[in-house]
């Protein structure tokens, strides 16, 4: 399995945000997308998730352009937005019921990704009474409830404590081992170490970057 992002372009009015973004990700890999604020990282992910349309280019999965197959894309892609895509007045169980069947939920809670994320600990708690970490774990649970092979995480772990992050890292590790693909937009050094490949988005183009743990070098390349 692999995905290929080919010549994606996007303008906001006359302002080009993505000029010619192209890269390939093999199955079982996690790719970090890096760059300064406003460089177009979130725009790229939202285009791949189907929230915005690209002005040009293709999103290939097994040589099939997912831009022209929106239903397949919805099944194949799991998008975790920056905020919390949850209904505040309802419980964790109610929120999960929007994204998966009852049987699937029970299975995942017993020995699946929901268990891995620790969602069984607060299943009957209303979202309004949850901590930030609980909300984020539930948000990820909702986003990946349909078992997508391609995960798009847009600063999904920002402001989480280490134990919460570790649970999400465990899930990403398991996802990679199953041959899944992860695209990760982040500013966090700890998350960068989770990635196998890195790309820096600058002036609307992506550039491969070999991250060695040298943060100063990373900052210079922005």
């Amino acid at each position: 399995m692999k995905i290929e992002i080919r010549n994606i372009r996007k303008n906001y009015g006359k302002q080009p945000v993505l000029k010619d973004v192209s890269f390939t990700v093999e199955g079982g890999k996690c790719v970090g997308i890096l760059g300064g604020n406003g460089c177009g990282k979130s725009t790229l992910l939202s285009i791949l998730a189907g929230i915005q349309s690209a002005d040009g280019g293709a999103f290939l999965y097994e040589d099939k352009d997912l831009f022209t197959y929106p239903r397949q894309r919805a099944q194949l892609v799991g998008y975790v937005p920056q905020g919390t895509p949850l209904i505040e007045e309802l419980t964790a169980k109610d929120n999960l019921s929007l994204w998966c069947s009852k049987e699937k939920m029970e299975k995942e809670l017993q020995n699946g990704v929901f268990k891995l994320l620790g969602l069984d600990e607060f299943l009957k708690v209303p979202v309004s009474k949850m901590s930030g970490g609980m909300k984020k774990r539930l948000s990820i649970g909702c986003s990946i409830a349909h078992d997508p092979p391609i995960l798009l995480l847009d600063e999904a772990m920002a402001a989480l404590d280490i134990s919460c992050k570790q649970k999400i890292f465990d899930y990403i590790g398991a996802h990679k081992r199953r041959g899944g693909i992860v695209l990760l937009v982040t500013h966090d050094v700890m998350e960068l170490e989770l990635c196998d490949e890195w790309y820096i988005l600058k002036n609307g183009m992506v550039h491969p970057f070999d991250y060695t743990g040298d943060t100063a070098e990373l900052v210079r390349s922005f």
Partner: protein, 412 residues
């Protein structure tokens, strides 16, 4: 797997008790405010100058003299101004609100009255002027009292004069006959006036007009507590739904449908106990409409609430958060309801405002509610309500999509 619609319904039901309490508190506060306003209005009305038209046969010199006397010497000159005019002009002026009422004098009114024949004159009002009706009744009562007292004084004076001249025994029966004639004439005067109400709008009575106006205000304000649910800054849920193939249109439609159903429930939860309370407090209060009329009237809540729920979603989309959404909703509703004549009859407003009112969503909604009550009303306002419902929904959808794209793109 549950649908977005069913979760929206569940969500609303979870907070329904809170919404109900907020609604009751809101309406209690509004009721206090309105009663205060009405009280102030009534006090100011007592000191107002009413302009009254006089139409019909006013050629008689005695009548002309009486009008001049009324306008120049009587105490009523401070509160009533009489203006002679043609009947058609008077009718138009009454509809425009430039006069408060007009008197229509029948042919040879004075001559017939002098002969002791009573042909009623017609007093025509726009119905909203209860104070002027009372004032006229008081004026006539006062006049009759004066005539009775003066007649008695005259009779006693005549009797004393006859007594002084030693002819009392001989002419006592003449005095009695004269007094009885006075009394008969005076008593007949009380039948000399008939009050006709043209109605404020589309033939509706005052109470029916204000029932429509207040109901519309009530239905529009019902949506206010829902701001806490629908006005959100974090649109991540909508973004995630989009990524899973649930279109923005479908999301908004589900929200609209759940909001519409919850508004219906809330209207029933507030309106039915309110009617029951009114019936208990004043058994005659609900008799202004028949049971059939009440049922038909409440049936027209449905299209109006469909439009109101689309309007609410649009306002909440623009508001963006709870505080600005609530403020925007409250002031938009109050302004539109004011211009649409929920607080005062629309005919009291300048012509330009009346024209504007006809095209406002609240204007067509009020006319829709009036279909059940007004004589000869057609169903055209229903089309207006449907058009506005679609327009508000489309506007809310455009704002939603713009917000989602701006959020995901503009802040990239």
């Amino acid at each position: 797997m549950r649908t977005y619609f069913s979760l929206q319904c569940k969500r609303v039901m979870k907070v329904f008790p809170f919404i109900l309490i907020v609604t009751v508190v809101l309406f209690a506060a509004l009721a206090v405010m309105l009663s205060g306003l009405m009280s102030a209005y009534n006090n100011s009305e007592k000191n107002a100058v009413f302009k009254v038209g006089i139409t019909g046969d006013t050629d008689n010199e005695m009548l002309q003299m009486a009008i001049v006397a009324f306008q120049s010497f009587d105490e009523s000159r401070f509160s009533v101004e009489f203006v002679e005019m043609e009947q058609t002009v008077a009718e138009a002026a009454l509809q425009k609100g430039t006069i408060s009422a007009y008197l229509e004098l029948p042919e040879d009114f004075v001559e017939k009255a002098m002969r002791g024949e009573v042909e009623p004159m017609y007093y025509v009002t726009s119905a909203g002027a209860d104070n002027i009706v009372n004032m006229f009744k008081n004026e006539i009562t006062s006049l009759v009292t004066d005539v009775v007292v003066s007649s008695q004084q005259g009779s006693f004076g005549l009797q004393e004069a006859l007594d002084d001249n030693d002819v009392a025994g001989k002419h006592g029966e003449w005095v009695n006959a004269l007094a009885i004639e006075y009394v008969n004439l005076v008593l007949k005067r009380t039948e000399a006036i008939t009050v006709n109400e043209l109605g404020i709008s589309e033939g509706m009575r005052t109470v029916e007009y204000y029932l429509c106006g207040m109901t519309l205000l009530f239905l529009m304000l019902l949506g206010l507590p829902f701001v806490a649910i629908y006005a959100r800054q974090d649109r991540s849920l909508n973004v995630l739904l989009l990524s899973r193939g649930v279109s923005g249109f479908r999301q908004l439609f589900d929200e609209w449908l759940s909001h519409f159903l919850s508004l219906l429930c809330l209207a029933a939860a507030v309106f039915v106990p309110l009617l029951a309370f009114s019936a208990t407090a004043d058994p005659t209060a609900l008799q202004m409409l028949s049971t059939h009329e009440w049922l038909t009237y409440t049936l027209f809540f449905i299209p109006v609430l469909a439009m109101v729920s689309a309007f609410n979603l649009f306002i909440f989309e623009i508001g963006g958060n709870v505080v600005s959404g609530a403020l925007l909703h409250f002031f938009a509703v109050l302004c539109m309801c004011y211009v649409s004549g929920c607080f005062y009859p629309v005919y009291a407003f300048p012509h330009a405002v009346q024209t504007l009112e006809r095209f406002l969503p609240t204007g067509v909604a009020r006319e829709t509610l009036a279909i059940a009550l007004a004589e000869g009303a057609d169903l055209r306002p229903l089309i207006g309500v449907a058009v506005y419902a679609v327009a508000f929904f489309a506007a809310a959808w455009l704002v939603r999509m713009h917000t989602l794209h701006r959020r995901e793109g503009g802040t990239a």
